[in-house]
């Protein structure tokens, strides 16, 4: 049964998928710090308001995974912002997140060299994101 994207239930499922992945713990063993995703609103896609998602990663473990407010999102070590359609492209692997950053389709606030050094971790969590059975806002009324 697909879960509505960017809801708390979906965040819980995403967290569980990361925890269940056999390779994640080893790949992410060096990663320290929280990541926030900011989804810009797009009423035409059933996203009327901005959505803020906060995810805490720490040396292969995962902590708090919540839908949050703007202030909490901005407290994350890394904040990535983009239009809903771009995030969906990333989830579907139609657009690589690194390429999206370089092309300006996603914006990031945070330590860029750190992300580059840990690019395998970034790719892994995106890979797992694509495995969560998801119902996207523009796929339902």
């Amino acid at each position: 049964m697909p879960i509505k994207a960017m809801t708390q239930e979906w965040m819980d499922a995403y967290k569980a998928a990361i925890q269940a992945d056999p390779d994640y713990r080893n790949i992410a063993k060096d990663w320290e710090g929280s990541v926030a995703l900011v989804v810009n609103p797009d009423p035409s896609k059933n996203v009327p308001e901005p959505i803020y998602l906060f995810m805490d990663y720490w040396h292969g473990d995962v902590g708090e995974f919540v839908v949050c407010d703007k202030a909490k999102a901005e407290s994350a070590r890394f904040v990535m912002t983009g239009d809903y359609a771009r995030w969906k492209q990333v989830a579907f692997k139609e657009l690589d997140a690194t390429k999206a950053l370089l092309q300006g389709k996603l914006k990031m606030k945070g330590d860029l060299p750190y992300v580059v050094r840990n690019i395998k971790t970034v790719n892994k969590v995106i890979d797992i994101l694509g495995k969560v059975d998801t119902l996207w806002p523009d796929d339902h009324k």
Binding site: T98, K99, K105, L112, V116, R117
Partner: protein
């Protein structure tokens, strides 16, 4: 006169010790713009292309473009052009730094150097006074020493200098600009050495070349600065330099490992990466003239066996060729190898590739310790590598064999040594694996100076650093390990990217700004009023002209190939199991480019591009 141009070129005859100015008509500039494109036009018109590259008959051209010296970001560039002593075909090597804008300030768009001096000389263009002076006391000095001496009395002078490798006619010799910027590829330092020309000095007093529309230029300039400020690519380059590619490239299969025989060495990449250099050895970022990105690294190594004084740091290419290619995890050894290549004046890609060949042959027993004067050339032995680099510059022992690059070395060694060299048309490939990015493989096959990542923007478009759907039909995201759709991507990325070497502008700036902004700035400077179609047509003319130059020297379809090693799939890494579909790539590309079955531009293409003289020579 068209805007942006100084309005004259300097011709120097070293055999006679004389010089004069010449001009080029506006309609010719409009067709060929400047830089390496204009150099190819002049070469074909005025010089014998069959001449030995190290003979007095081979001209050495140092060319700027109309944007150079305008103040627009990334326009510090100049191209050095000649027939290559390494490959025997067209050679050009673009360089950033300080020389290009200063040459424009001196009132020249370019310099064409003919003949050969009897004794070592320095050519100087200082405050409108031109002179050839004796350089006997400088001959034998390395680039850092000679540059310091030449600039001792006046630090504002900009210098182009060769080192011992150029003097000794090493066919991989480079030319250094103010110690930190290099025209590295295809052996142009040896051409300079063959002319007994140790250095070219320039200091200008002619002011900036007038622009066609100052207000439009200011608008384009403002837009460019804002786009660079907002560019994550530019930010990454500023923070990590070009070596930001090391970690990312190891994941995607871009980075060659152990002389192109392995992949997926993530710890090795981590130890050599831009973030590591930044954390441990970077003292500051450095910029070419008029560049807000400042991607150049200045580094210092205080401890360990490879200490280095503060100086220019290695680019990604150097970190790969002296790092992953040699199975060397020690970034300080890479920094030292970079310094030695800078001082001796050798292209790091060719030098490191020749060393990688030697290491592989040492492992196989084809090359022995005795031949290497006792050096242990096992993988990763950087103490031996640094000794070997010196031997190459001075043509000592086995270094003499490697000094002309990996292809010449493999041919002298014989047997199947050539199978261990990754090259196209005699030029060793840069550090981007076509098995990870098939479009790059096609670009290597079709680049006019041999395997090259800088005659086009394929690196940016195929790897997703830039997306320009307004310029030509392209996707946001290309899968690297597929050949489908890549011919069109390469063709278009060549037509746009090759302009970087004629305008002349830095690739990184061009990747970071919108094509509209570059077009508007170009038009504001020149007054040409070019559309995108005009710009891409100029790129087509540029590519076709140089292809014709090479066709006249015997290049044909048989040379448009990838080497055996690249056509062998890797077992590990991001490119595992993948090889380019060469037949598909070439078939589609030949159709787009209008090449006939021999690999010659078709007569109708030459006619459309206004290359009637070339058409007459190819079809006589």
């Amino acid at each position: 006169m068209a805007g942006g141009y100084a309005g004259k070129f300097l011709r120097v005859d070293l055999s006679k010790g004389s010089w004069d100015d010449f001009t080029i008509a506006d309609d010719v500039l409009r067709q060929y713009i400047g830089g390496s494109c204009l150099a190819a036009k002049l070469f074909l018109e005025r010089y014998p292309i069959e001449a030995d590259p190290l003979s007095p008959e081979n001209p050495l051209m140092i060319m700027t473009g109309p944007m150079v010296g305008s103040g627009f970001p990334g326009t510090s560039r100049f191209s050095v052009c000649a027939k290559s002593p390494q490959t025997g075909i067209w050679a050009e090597s673009a360089c950033g730094g300080t020389f290009g804008p200063e040459l424009k300030r001196a009132g020249y768009d370019g310099i064409v150097i003919e003949g050969r001096s009897e004794k070592p000389v320095v050519l100087s263009i200082i405050d409108s006074k031109i002179a050839l002076s004796d350089a006997s006391s400088l001959w034998g000095k390395d680039i850092y020493e000679a540059t310091d001496e030449l600039k001792a009395a006046d630090r504002s002078i900009k210098a182009l200098v060769i080192g011992p490798a150029g003097e000794n006619l090493a066919r991989i010799a480079a030319i250094g600009n103010d110690k930190g910027h290099f025209s590295g590829r295809a052996g142009l330092g040896a051409v300079m050495g063959s002319k007994n020309l140790k250095a070219v000095l320039v200091k200008g007093n002619a002011g900036k070349a007038p622009k066609a529309d100052d207000d439009a230029f200011k608008t384009a300039m403002k837009a460019a600065m804002q786009e660079i400020k907002e560019s994550a690519l530019a930010e990454g380059l500023h923070m990590m330099g070009s070596d930001a590619n090391m970690d990312l490239g190891m994941v995607t299969g871009d980075v060659p490992v152990k002389n192109w025989t392995s992949g997926g060495e993530f710890d090795l990449a981590n130890s050599l990466s831009g973030p590591t250099m930044r954390e441990k050895y970077l003292t500051k970022a450095h910029a070419c003239t008029n560049c807000p990105i400042a991607c150049k690294r200045v580094v210092k190594v205080e401890d360990g066996p490879y200490t280095a004084e503060e100086g220019p740091g290695p680019e990604y290419e150097t970190c790969a060729v002296f790092g992953t290619m040699l199975m060397n995890p020690d970034l300080t050894a890479v920094i030292k190898a970079n310094e030695l290549c800078n001082r001796y004046g050798m292209d790091t890609i060719s030098c490191g590739s020749a060393v990688a060949l030697a290491m592989e042959l040492f492992e196989k027993g084809t090359v022995t310790k005795e031949q290497l004067d006792g050096l242990d050339l096992s993988w990763g032995r950087m103490d031996s590598v640094l000794e070997l680099v010196k031997k190459m510059a001075y043509r000592q022992g086995f270094g003499d064999i490697l000094a002309d690059g990996a292809v010449h070395a493999a041919r002298r060694i014989g047997g199947d040594a050539i199978d261990a060299v990754v090259h196209v048309k005699g030029l060793e490939a840069p550090m981007h694996d076509p098995r990870g990015f098939h479009g790059m493989g096609l670009a290597y096959m079709m680049s006019n100076r041999g395997a090259c990542h800088l005659q086009h923007f394929v690196l940016a478009t195929e790897q997703g650093m830039a997306s320009w759907p307004q310029l030509f039909d392209m996707k946001d995201d290309y899968q690297g390990t597929t050949s489908e759709g890549k011919a069109a991507l390469v063709y278009n990325s060549e037509n746009y990217g090759i302009l970087a070497n004629s305008l002349a502008i830095c690739h990184y700036v061009a990747y970071s700004i919108k094509p509209e902004t570059l077009r508007d700035a170009f038009n504001a400077v020149t007054g040409f009023g070019f559309t995108f179609t005009d710009l891409l047509s100029t790129g087509m003319r540029d590519w076709t002209l140089k292809r014709g130059f090479n066709n006249l020297l015997g290049i044909s379809k048989k040379d448009d190939i990838l080497p055996k090693r690249i056509m062998t799939a890797l077992d590990t890494g991001g490119a595992a199991g993948s090889v380019p579909d060469v037949d598909l790539l070439l078939k589609e590309y030949y159709e787009l480019r209008g090449l006939d079955e021999r690999g010659f531009p078709k007569a109708e293409i030459l006619a459309v591009l206004g290359l009637d003289d070339l058409k007459a020579r190819l079809y006589q």
